[in-house]
């Protein structure tokens, strides 16, 4: 078999360039594709929707900026949905940078809800190390783990925290999670030990590992998986955010990858054919 007949591999630089163009163009010129809402995302929406008004709910920001593209739109959508239902939000973070991510998410959503006040409508408890043990300890006595909020204000001085002692007073718990500690630990500790209602979102790459927890025992009330989950949630609450526009870019990127897979197989087939 002569080497000249063997189809050449596409230079990876061309692959990168084509992918770059494929991602940038839909971001600049949205294509307007519509995402179908999956059952997993609908379950998360239903959990927020069915939780009574003025309930205290908990959102754990268990991620850092690297995964913010996928998880930050989810967080903002959940906050907006919860506030539309007049639910009061307690925020914490099992990841150090989660505190900043929460601050940024609330700063964005507060523009739509200028009347919402810190201490009354939302509280940020800050970051705590310890992962699953922290969740277990919170389930027994929240104040033992978080005696103050992230500003150093004692929880007893915050109107929202009145009567909130442990998970029994929390409507649901959401973990926006990009790894450990995160959603898995909330399932194992908050749900399995304290029977709290747990839901959340993860990066697309981690989502398949969480699907077994969405079961008849309701270990997880649905799951938002990656940018698609975030876009679905935006669609359900009628918001066109960064996830919706990002889905166009992701869709084109996926199509490009599929085309390259086909090209790779054509090349492999030709090589096999030449060898024979």
């Amino acid at each position: 078999m002569s080497n000249s007949k063997v189809p050449k591999q596409i230079d990876r630089r061309y692959i990168y360039l084509i992918l770059l163009v494929g991602i940038i163009v839909p971001l600049l010129v949205p294509l307007g594709f519509v995402s179908e809402v999956s059952d997993l995302s609908k379950q998360v929406y239903d959990l927020v929707e069915s939780t009574p008004e003025s309930s205290v709910v908990m959102i754990s920001f268990d991620y850092e900026p690297s995964t913010a593209t996928e998880l930050q739109p989810m967080s903002k959508s959940i906050i907006e949905h919860a506030w539309r239902k007049n639910q009061r939000i307690v925020v914490l973070a099992l990841w150090p940078q989660g505190v900043q991510m929460a601050e940024m998410a609330f700063a964005d959503v507060l523009k739509k809800f200028p009347g919402k006040q810190y201490g009354k409508d939302y509280v940020n408890l800050g970051y705590k190390t310890g992962g699953m043990v922290t969740i277990q300890a919170m389930g027994r006595n929240l104040r033992e783990v978080f005696p103050n909020d992230y500003k150093g204000t004692p929880l007893d001085n915050l109107e929202l925290m009145t009567g909130v002692k442990n998970f029994n007073q929390v409507g649901y718990m959401m973990s926006m999670s990009s790894g450990d500690p995160g959603l898995k630990q909330y399932v194992m500790a908050a749900h399995d030990i304290f029977k709290a209602k747990v839901s959340g979102g993860t990066t697309a790459v981690s989502a398949p590992g969480f699907i077994p927890y969405v079961n008849d025992q309701k270990q997880l009330y649905g799951l938002l998986g990656g940018l698609k989950g975030a876009a679905e949630y935006e669609a359900m609450i009628g918001v066109k955010g960064t996830a919706t526009s990002g889905m166009d870019a992701q869709s084109v990127a996926h199509m490009i990858i599929i085309i390259f897979i086909i090209l790779g197989n054509i090349r492999a087939y030709k090589i096999r054919h030449l060898k024979q």
Binding site: S66, G130, S251
Partner: protein, 232 residues
């Protein structure tokens, strides 16, 4: 003695924590709560230990002029700048040693720590993660090749899930009549995720759990001692 005492502590603490799961009453439950608090305190110190280790390891690389020592130096400088910004002008609502840095806020619009976080760290971090997409595209072209029955299955499943999870893919089969909706790409993707994926994930989880039980027992009984830092 140096090894016996840690092994004894591990055994006793392990047995208490394990027992409290099956006997959730005093004294086990209260001792377990105390141990949890200890764990949280020790975890806090672990962060400081990690930072000290980071400084030590990187400083040694720089001092020894190890390969790529300039990157280690850059890491150290970044660490020091963020640390100083946090200590001097505080983070978020917390004041630093020099107060809030109102003059800097007037120029930058934010506290120095917040400014660096949202304008540098956030974008660098997101960029690193986003680069994965390019590597995946290149790797998919090279790796997703039909070579055997298993690799064909893997490729077909991957393509179907990718199509089912995109808005474009959804539009390909949106025209299907109701009785053929099971062939709608998102439905096929859901099927793959909910049944074959779920079954495999559960098998992995159960296997991993059994592995954890085994290795935990080895640690409790002192058979596994590598966490002590030695080879024996």
């Amino acid at each position: 003695m140096k090894r016996f005492v840690p092994l004894l502590i591990t055994f006793i603490v392990g047995i208490i924590v394990l027992s409290s799961e099956f006997i959730p009453h005093k004294p086990f439950s209260s001792v377990n709560e105390g141990l949890e608090n200890w764990f949280l305190i020790i975890s806090g110190f672990a962060i400081i230990l990690g930072q000290l280790s980071l400084i030590k390891v990187n400083s040694m690389k720089v001092a020894d002029k190890a390969e790529n020592w300039k990157f280690y130096l850059a890491g150290l400088i970044a660490f020091a700048v963020m640390l100083l910004c946090g200590i001097l002008w505080g983070t978020q609502d917390a004041k630093g040693l020099l107060g809030n840095g109102d003059l800097i806020i007037a120029i930058l619009g934010k506290k120095p720590f917040e400014y660096l976080f949202s304008n540098i760290y956030q974008h660098l971090s997101a960029t690193m993660f986003a680069l994965l997409a390019f590597f995946i595209a290149s790797a998919a072209y090279r790796a997703f090749i039909v070579r055997s029955f298993e690799s064909t299955l893997l490729m077909i499943a991957a393509v179907l899930v990718m199509l089912g999870r995109t808005s474009i893919g959804t539009s390909f089969t949106a025209w299907l009549p109701q009785q053929w909706k099971f062939l709608h790409l998102p439905n096929i993707a859901d099927f793959i995720m909910n049944y074959p994926n779920n079954a495999a994930q559960r098998a992995i989880m159960i296997s991993a759990a059994l592995g954890i039980v085994g290795s935990s027992l080895r640690i409790l009984l002192g058979i596994e001692r590598s966490y002590l830092g030695g080879s024996d």
